[in-house]
């Protein structure tokens, strides 16, 4: 059997694209490894990439368990925060009175820096997972509120007249015109909110949690387990990149259908 001409080329081509895209990362790793080997810096100050990799492979359970928890908290907080932002945006849309109260409140509430909020919330809610969740919810609330509010007002040209002429009820108008019109803006909010949700979950864990990636990093760093701390950074980076990629993909997939 003659092999297809394209088949042997494919892994090679994939390797090529990987190299051309990620050569920067690879170069950093190579230089780092070379520098640690040649100069002989103390392991605690800077471990070799190989050691970090070894720790990742040797103890995958620790990384997976903590990463899983962080991801779960981030996802749950993201969903709750976006839900809350959407509901409040809809309430503000539905009545000018509510809009007058909710819009400034939402803006003030969401422009407070989160780092400043963490100790306050921790004191109110206790130093545990609830607080981490609350912080992610607050972080995710803002884009959902702002973008959904805008999206509810950008209706396709002529559609508002059309719904009136066709005798649509207020409720049908809301479900079949206003809400669907907000979907593209909502997806932008999702794309913008997803990476910070992960980041703020880790930050909150770092500052006061008792588990999760943020805490793993903190305990490893203070225990001079530098390769574990760096391993945690690698896992966190991978998760952030994956979240961003997923959110971008989801936004594109929805927009393709919507516009």
């Amino acid at each position: 059997m003659r092999p297809e001409p394209a088949t042997p080329n494919r892994p090679l081509r994939m390797l090529k694209t990987a190299l051309s895209r990620y050569w920067g990362v690879i170069a950093v790793l190579v230089i780092w490894q070379a520098w640690v080997s040649i100069s002989g810096v103390n392991q605690i100050v800077l471990p070799q990439p190989v050691d970090v990799f070894r720790d990742l492979v040797a103890e995958p359970g620790i990384y997976l368990r903590n990463a899983g928890q962080t991801l779960l908290l981030a996802a749950l907080g993201l969903i709750l925060g976006m839900l809350l932002g959407t509901v409040i945006a809809v309430l503000a849309w539905s009545s000018t009175l509510l809009s007058g109260i909710l819009t400034p409140l939402g803006l003030v509430f969401s422009s407070v820096p989160v780092v400043a909020l963490i100790p306050v919330i921790a004191r109110i809610m206790g130093y545990d997972l609830k607080t981490v969740l609350a912080i992610v919810v607050i972080i995710s609330f803002f884009p959902a509120f702002v973008f959904t509010s805008a999206g509810l007002k950008t209706l396709p040209p002529g559609s508002s007249d059309l719904f009136r002429v066709l005798g649509a009820s207020r409720w049908t108008r809301f479900t079949r015109l206003v809400l669907p019109s907000a979907v593209p803006s909502w997806m932008i909010a999702f794309r913008l909110a997803a990476p910070p949700a992960v980041l703020s979950a880790m930050l909150a864990e770092f500052l006061m949690g008792t588990s999760g990636l943020g805490y793993l990093f903190r305990s490893a760093a203070s225990g001079f387990q530098t390769e574990r701390a760096l391993g945690t950074s690698v896992v966190a980076t991978v998760i952030s990149v994956l979240c961003f990629t997923f959110a971008l993909w989801a936004e594109r997939a929805v927009l393709r259908k919507w516009n």
Partner: protein, 273 residues
């Protein structure tokens, strides 16, 4: 064969001279501009459209044709005068889901397929979708095969045709069409005129059509109304003498050409005065 001086004699025998469906009673419309001044879009227009009658509205751009349609559709309230549709407030008709419109912008929802867009009036009326009716109309406007396409995948003319199908889907009692074939090439336009006439002959919907094409107005309408430039007034009304169903061949007749000339002349701005 007919007496041109008494337009009533031309009324097609199928249509009985019946009650008034749309009554524009000395209406006027002014808009307040940003700078506080008033813009008189419609000066004074009186027009009665009989039940089952097809009236075409001609006039220069900006003379208030779309505004008249919006008044009938209750999207705008008249500044002066009164609009009565089927003996009631114009809102009543749209609330009863008995009004069909295709306005200048097609207003298709971008997230729905063509088929779902055409079926939308059923859902807004809280009725179950009549799939056969939707399919039939999509076929009639020449969009068969595009049922699952999205509006953005269609050309401007195709979108207009989809919005015409949507306007007809509920068997409305009153149909308002605002330059529905404006984006079509001459051949497709002719085809659509023939299809629209066929549907209209079957259903006898009271129709008000705004168009810039004199030929289209004469081919489709029972009566053609010409408006002056802004502020809009009715300056000429012609009863169209051709029997229905009309074949495209009538457009080559001498009588047709005479009427085209007459209307074209009326549309030209008064130079002498």
């Amino acid at each position: 064969m007919t007496d041109a001086s008494s337009p009533v004699a031309h009324l097609s025998p199928v249509r009985p001279a019946t009650e008034t469906a749309i009554d524009l009673d000395h209406i006027g419309k002014s808009f307040r501009m940003e700078n506080g001044r008033e813009l008189v879009a419609i000066d004074e227009v009186s027009l009665k459209i009989g039940k089952g009658e097809f009236v075409a509205l001609l006039g220069p751009s900006g003379c208030g044709k779309s505004t008249i349609l919006r008044l009938v559709a209750a999207l705008e309230a008249p500044s002066r005068g009164r609009v009565v549709v089927e003996g009631r407030e114009p809102e009543d008709l749209s609330r009863a889901h008995r009004l069909g419109v295709a306005f200048q912008d097609h207003a298709l929802l971008p997230w729905l397929t063509i088929s779902a867009n055409v079926a939308l009036p059923f859902q807004l009326a809280g009725r179950s979708v009549d799939r056969k009716r939707v399919e039939e109309l999509i076929r009639l406007v020449g969009l068969a095969g595009f049922e699952q396409a999205r509006p953005r995948q269609l050309s401007g003319g195709m979108r207009q045709r989809a919005s015409i199908a949507r306007s007809l889907v509920l068997h409305p009692d009153v149909l308002l069409l605002d330059e529905p074939f404006g984006a079509l090439d001459a051949v497709t336009r002719r085809q659509m005129n023939v299809e629209l006439q066929r549907i209209w002959t079957d259903e006898r919907i009271t129709t008000l059509l705004v168009t810039h094409s004199v030929e289209e107005a004469l081919f489709l309408a029972d009566r053609v109304v010409v408006m002056s430039g802004r502020p809009g007034r009715v300056i000429k009304t012609i009863e169209v003498p051709f029997e229905r169903p009309r074949q495209p061949a009538i457009m080559r007749s001498a009588e047709f050409h005479d009427l085209v000339d007459e209307l074209t002349l009326a549309l030209e701005p008064e130079e002498a005065a």
